[in-house]
């Protein structure tokens, strides 16, 4: 009987000890979780809101990495065996390195793709402006020389006849030119010289400070000058 009482009391005492231990561990888990979540959340919202998520994400990564290191130091200890600790640290370093590589790789790659898209857009825009302006200018040149040696119409007049309403500051509607954000504008028109500017509403040029003809800044602008000698082309921005 006394033996049974001894066993029962030992079991009860052990259960209470374990329950106390659990409560302590649960508290520790909650404290760690709350601390980690608070640190990451604060860091995440430190950079001001922007179209990019990287500044917030990279800032949040700093406390997150420090948190994992601190957590690992705290939990990877006795009674976890030395071998298991070493293996765990190796895994943490390997996985951490892989995640860091994946993370930074994604950032570098996505930023590169973003820039490529803008570069491609500028290249397409320049090509389109060429394909609108050159035929318009060369058509006028062809018509001008088809008059023969005695010219009844000046180059400027021929251009105006082929492009009704063309005057300084006006847009011309080149053949096959869609109603999009690119346009060909007559900068000046004289008897023997027509200056056309090819421009785009939002495609970025080489110099971000370039003052565009339409009042914008830093956008693509191409210049085509038509004279009796032909068309000269200059990429202004």
């Amino acid at each position: 009987m006394s033996g049974l009482f001894f066993i029962t009391s030992q079991c009860s005492s052990r259960s209470i000890d374990i329950l106390k231990g659990i409560q302590k561990e649960v508290c520790m888990i909650i404290i760690w979780l709350l601390g980690g979540i608070a640190a990451v959340t604060i860091a995440f919202f430190v950079p001001s809101n922007s179209p990019e998520l990287w500044p917030s994400l990279n800032m949040a990564m700093i406390p997150a990495a420090l948190y994992i290191l601190a957590l690992s130091f705290y939990t990877l200890r006795s009674p976890i065996t030395r071998t298991a600790r070493i293996v765990s640290w190796v895994i943490i370093v390997l996985i951490g390195g892989a995640m860091y590589s994946s993370w930074t790789g994604m950032e570098v790659q996505s930023r590169w793709q973003h820039n490529q898209l803008l570069k491609i857009h500028s290249a397409i825009t320049r090509g389109l402006l060429q394909s609108y302006a050159q035929p318009a200018a060369l058509s006028a040149l062809k018509e001008y020389y088809q008059q023969g040696k005695t010219k009844k119409e000046s180059l400027g007049k021929v251009f105006q006849r082929l492009n009704p309403g063309a005057a300084a500051g006006s847009k011309i509607q080149a053949a096959d030119m869609p109603q999009d954000s690119s346009s060909i504008v007559v900068k000046s028109i004289a008897e023997n010289e027509v200056v056309l500017l090819g421009r785009h509403q939002y495609s970025n040029g080489r110099n971000p400070d370039f003052k565009n003809y339409n009042g914008k800044t830093g956008k693509v602008q191409e210049r085509f000058t038509l004279t009796e000698k032909g068309v000269s082309y200059e990429s202004e921005n």
């Binding site: 374990i18 979540i37 990451v40 990019e52 998520l53 939990t75 570098v108 590169w112 060369l138």
Partner: protein, 265 residues
């Protein structure tokens, strides 16, 4: 009662093995379940916010990369990218919290607690509690970590493939642009009178101006007849790549035909 437990040795003095068959089986099951979730049910891991932008992946960096590319596409279409909407920012923040805070905390504390409770295996409640949190934590961190490993290994290959493809395409565009310039020059030659060094209605005698015949992008040749001209551009960077444009006196934009060879195809 001494609560300190020396896990290195069992009470009977035998050396304890950390990676017991049970632990290995658990690890395998965990990995299998994780792979299943990641590769089969990845589309289902969605925060029920009712918006497409509310997707929570355990990979916030992928969401951020998607946002950067989406911004590029918006600028490509002439739209000014607006600030990230709060749902997306919260989704990304949740991704970091789950993958880097909650997952590791549950897993490591659960594991630590299980090791601590090992001498009292008879106490099912403690064993189950720590096992459950370590499995949940393990699932979360494995879900976040496993895809990062092949991603990191393949990263340089993917990057170099993308950059090389883009470099080829860029060079192709440059060669096309150069040929287009030469084509307009040739067209103009056909229009101008002989007094202005033109062909006066014929391409005969046309030669590519020196400044246009060789650029940093490629070298260019012209095969000329009176009514037709064929321009061939050979890439300076990819010698097996060529672009050919053939057109008549109507000009390159009216019935001109383009042909691409090598990697430019």
């Amino acid at each position: 009662m001494n609560q300190k437990i020396d896990a290195e040795k069992l009470p009977d003095g035998q050396q304890e093995r950390e990676f017991s068959p049970d632990f290995v089986r658990l690890l395998i099951a965990l990995t299998g379940a994780t792979l299943l979730i990641v590769f089969v049910f990845q589309d289902k891991i969605i925060l029920p916010t009712g918006t497409a932008t509310g997707q929570v992946f355990l990979y916030p960096w992928i969401t951020a990369a998607g946002q950067t590319i989406a911004n590029g596409l918006a600028e490509f279409s002439g739209k000014t990218p607006s600030d990230s909407i709060i749902q997306v920012r919260l989704a990304v923040l949740l991704g970091v919290i789950f993958g880097f805070i909650i997952g590791p905390t549950l897993f490591l504390f659960g594991w630590y607690q299980r090791r601590k409770d090992r001498p009292f295996r008879g106490m099912d409640s403690t064993l189950k509690g720590s096992a459950v949190i370590s499995v949940i934590g393990g699932l979360i961190i494995f879900s976040a970590a496993i895809p990062a490993i092949p991603n990191a290994i393949n990263r340089s290959q993917v990057e170099s493939w993308l950059r090389s493809s883009q470099a080829i395409q860029e060079n192709k565009d440059q060669v096309i642009s150069d040929i287009t310039m030469i084509a307009y020059n040739a067209h103009q030659y056909g229009i101008l009178p002989r007094s202005l060094n033109g062909g006066e209605g014929s391409f005969a005698g046309y030669a590519i101006p020196q400044a246009l015949a060789a650029t940093a992008n490629g070298t260019y040749k012209a095969a000329v007849t009176a009514d037709e001209i064929t321009l061939t551009g050979n890439s300076a960077k990819y010698p097996d790549c060529n672009v050919t444009l053939r057109f008549n006196r109507n000009g390159p934009m009216n019935g001109g035909t383009w042909k691409y060879e090598g990697q430019f195809q």
